[in-house]
Amino acid sequence: MENESVNQWLDAASVRALAESLMKPVEPAPQMTPETIYGSGFVGFAEAGQAAPVSPADSGEPVIPPPVVEPLIARVPPVPDGVDTRKEVIIGKAVVKEPESLFEVTLTPTGTGKIPPAQAVARYPSPFKIASAPLAPPTPVSQGRPGTAKGQPLATRLSKFGTWLKGEIPAEAYFICDRNGEMVVDEVGSSKLIKVARTLAHASANAGRQVGESGERASLHVKVSTDRVLEVIPRQSTFGLVILGIIVPRPLSRETVASISRSFGAALDD
């Protein structure tokens, strides 16, 4: 009788399964696979306590050149003239056409397309580092702004913003996504980095709400390899929270972040 009344309110089998899982020890998280995009020097997601990779030079083994970084996003195959190949992209509630150029960008970490050997031989005592201050003098940013794109489609505005961004700072690659991780621009192709960026952005937004802050914030960045930092710039816009992630050689100064954030906001909301 009592079980019948319980079953009217809940799914007894699923509740039981959930309860049984709680009584078992939590299995250790699966070993993360190396982030091949950044080669063996990538240190951002090693398991806590896991020893950092010992460089081949230190261990006496022959140094193997790091892999060549392949293009992250396939080029769109040629299509007949007059055919609109642009993809529809959703940001918040808006559906926009993304220009083909956004899908043609390739990641070229260096002029040779290879990761510098120094990255592969570095040793780190801590596998995961969040830099608390700029590691080097701030990257200067000019007073320039993205070419005027007011009134143009969002994708065009963001494309111009991206061009401007790379002219202003030594950005290796960047991505833009909304708060749910829906990608608008992705030159990085690393779901883990995107997840980190979203986590940082949400944490920053939550912390800001708790203390009543508004507007621009300090630099949010995570070191992802010996000479690369993921800089995260969250921005509230008419589409809600939109997140810009940039791979740069060193953290950006507060002023640089503020400048980029303003231009990013303008590209989103103009």
Binding site: M1, E2, N3, L18, A19, L22, M23, A203, N206
Partner: protein, 258 residues
């Protein structure tokens, strides 16, 4: 030291009564026991100390990093039993806890308590598994979940399980020591049926055998600022919580340093 959180998704299920009397039972066994009130409503303090509104406590520790654990611990007449009232939570509530800072301070506080030589720390949490309670659970070794033996209590079980599952993602070392049926009214068919339904719904190893009955004595004990076990008529209640302590001791096994 073992840190046990007494926590439930639902309010009014007897968390504070369970925490106070369980802590008393552990203290009676000779273990140095600290009862911490992390409920901003300050139920433990209001139950056991008349000056609780003027005492610094747990929330003062969270908002003031210079405050140390030994500055907020209140001794009782029982040598092995001390408590930390919730304190003046208003300043914490106004400022809020910055991301991760509350958890850091909870862990620092527990580390200090361990240094002070306590064997067991029981934390009475506010209803719900979020905010400060989530931070307490993130820093705890085990959680005990009081569950009211009433129909509404049964219906809230899925939410409680889901919340605990989320907590174990954050704290994989969190042991669910069990669900304790509380406010069991043996003369009320609905209460008996709810208790039976919970036992049939959940795995046997999850529901503790000892149940906490609904008894006016708890109200009278609270009015006098005492654990129910020290009341003149409290022998039966004392036996209930000693039985519960024994059950938990067995479940904690190697976790518990005696």
């Amino acid at each position: 030291m073992i840190t046990l959180a007494v926590s439930s998704q639902k309010g009014g299920v007897g968390k504070t009564t369970l925490a106070i009397n369980l802590a008393h039972a552990f203290a009676r066994s000779g273990r140095r026991t600290l009862l911490v009130d992390s409920d901003p409503q300050g139920s433990v303090g209001l139950s056991l100390t008349r000056q609780s509104r003027h005492l610094s406590g747990f929330f003062d520790l969270l908002s003031n990093p210079s405050l140390k654990a030994d500055q907020v611990i209140v001794p009782t007449r029982m040598e092995t039993f001390s408590l930390v009232p919730s304190g003046q939570s208003s300043s914490y509530e106004l400022g809020g806890g910055s991301m991760g800072m509350t958890l850091y301070r909870v862990r620092s506080f527990l580390a200090e308590v361990k240094e002070l030589g306590y064997d067991i720390c029981i934390v009475d949490c506010a209803a719900g598994l979020f905010g400060v309670t989530a931070d307490v659970l993130s820093a705890s070794d085990g959680v005990i979940v009081p569950q009211q033996a009433e129909p509404l209590g049964v219906r809230s079980v899925p939410k409680m399980l889901e919340a605990l599952t989320r907590m174990r993602v954050v704290n994989s070392q969190l042991h669910v020591l069990g669900v304790v049926l509380t406010m069991v009214h043996r003369n009320l068919p609905e209460s008996r049926e709810s208790a039976e339904a919970l036992r049939s719904l959940l795995p046997p190893e999850m529901v503790l055998k000892t149940v906490v009955p609904r008894d006016d004595l708890f109200v009278r004990a609270s009015a006098r600022g005492l654990p129910v076990g020290v009341m003149d008529e409290g022998a039966a209640a004392l036996a209930v919580f000693e039985s519960l302590r024994d059950e938990l001791d067995r479940r904690m096994g190697h976790l518990l340093s005696t």
